[in-house]
């Protein structure tokens, strides 16, 4: 931990701390929503620790709360989480082999991958990955636990706008990448594809279809890219 601190001290560590705090807040909303939907109080925190992928967990809770089967909910969640395969391919070696790789794989999520990719040298990328991964592994289930306790007290979580937090977190994370024009074009087209497909497909599949917009991202290649430091995360 101390070497992570030395490597990342300054803005990156602060940004990771804020990201974890935000994830904690979204975790509180997730726990509250889950309990308000009728799930047992132990559920959001246990699922949060074992699955550790927020979007799929919201989706799981939503499907089960709407009367869907947990099997359907699990399959939909897996479709959403299939994005972790390209994440794993995109990341350089941030963990090393053996038990570190087995543990490190569980810490892979939207935020840890983005923070790792935003660093400009491998040592910082590795430190960012572990710091963010561990922080979120603590904050997400921790927030869910608190939210499940509070959920009984707060009658209507929608009144607090908690459902706007998750998309805002994701958006805040990708904004630096969206400053490149071609990446922005591809992201907008991918979003449009997913939205157009959503009414006709089971949840999760539209996200994978969005990757069809990927060829649009190639325009930035011709021009030299902005230095990595200008693309770093919030």
């Amino acid at each position: 931990m101390s070497s992570i601190y030395r490597t990342l001290a300054g803005p990156p560590l602060r940004h990771i701390g804020f990201a974890c705090l935000a994830v904690w807040l979204v975790g509180v909303s997730y726990g509250a929503v889950a309990v308000a939907s009728g799930l047992p109080a132990w559920f959001p925190a246990v699922q949060g620790a074992l699955v550790l992928a927020g979007a799929s967990e919201f989706l799981f809770v939503g499907i089960v709360a709407a009367g869907g089967s947990p099997v359907t909910a699990a399959l939909a969640g897996l479709l959403v989480n299939a994005r972790h395969v390209p994440y794993g391919l995109a990341l350089p070696d941030v963990t090393g082999p053996g038990w570190r790789r087995l543990l490190g794989a569980h810490l892979m999520n939207d935020e840890s991958v983005l923070f790792a990719l935003a660093q400009d040298d491998p040592a910082r990328g590795r430190a960012a990955y572990w710091a963010c991964g561990a922080g979120i592994a603590a904050c997400w289930p921790g927030g869910a636990l608190l939210g499940a306790e509070l959920g009984g007290l707060v009658p209507d979580t929608a009144a607090f706008g908690l459902d706007a937090m998750f998309p805002a977190v994701i958006l805040a994370l990708i904004v630096p990448a969206l400053r490149g024009r071609a990446a922005r074009r591809a992201a907008l087209a991918g979003a449009a594809i997913a939205l157009a497909a959503a009414p006709f497909l089971p949840a999760g599949l539209p996200l994978l279809l969005a990757a069809l917009a990927l060829p649009l991202a190639s325009g930035d290649r011709a021009a030299p890219r902005a230095p990595r430091s200008q693309r770093s995360l919030p």
């Binding site: 940004h15 990201a19 799930l39 047992p40 559920f43 246990v46 699922q47 074992l50 979007a55 919201f58 799981f60 089960v64 947990p70 099997v71 909910a73 699990a74 399959l75 969640g77 959403v80 994005r83 972790h84 395969v85 390209p86 994440y87 794993g88 391919l89 995109a90 990341l91 350089p92 490190g104 794989a105 569980h106 892979m108 939207d110 983005l114 990719l117 706008g161 706007a164 998309p167 805002a168 994701i170 958006l171 805040a172 990708i174 904004v175 990448a177 990446a183 591809a186 992201a187 907008l188 991918g190 979003a191 997913a194 959503a198 969005a210 990757a211 917009a213 990927l214 991202a217 919030p234």
Partner: protein, 107 residues
């Protein structure tokens, strides 16, 4: 509500499958080396999928529209992020905008 054992089985399936996705990407990566353009492509793929995730969670509730309050909040957060506001400000502003709109009667 669903019975406990089936609920636990569904969660275990999701947890095991998700871990499988995470590890398979890592194991493939350790065996195959990718040239830089392919790595860029994979990074872009992650951004495109995340953009689709943000759009669908902002604009859809199940297969329907959740009302304008949520997307308006997300949009407010997105604009702040574009103006380089701190992460926490972005997220709290999104929730606050949505909450205030609902308080004002916008669903």
């Amino acid at each position: 509500m669903t019975a406990g054992p089936l609920l636990a089985a569904g969660m275990a399936t999701l947890a095991a499958g998700t871990y499988g996705f995470r590890l398979s990407g890592r194991l493939l990566r350790a065996r195959v080396s990718f040239p830089p353009p392919a790595q860029r492509l994979l990074e872009d793929a992650a951004v495109v999928v995340l953009a689709a995730l943000a759009a669908t969670t902002a604009l859809l509730q199940g297969h329907g529209f959740p009302g304008p309050a949520r997307p308006a909040g997300v949009l407010a957060g997105g604009l702040l992020a574009w103006r380089r506001a701190p992460f926490l400000v972005v997220v709290l502003a999104a929730a606050a905008t949505t909450a205030l709109l609902r308080l004002a009667g916008v669903r």
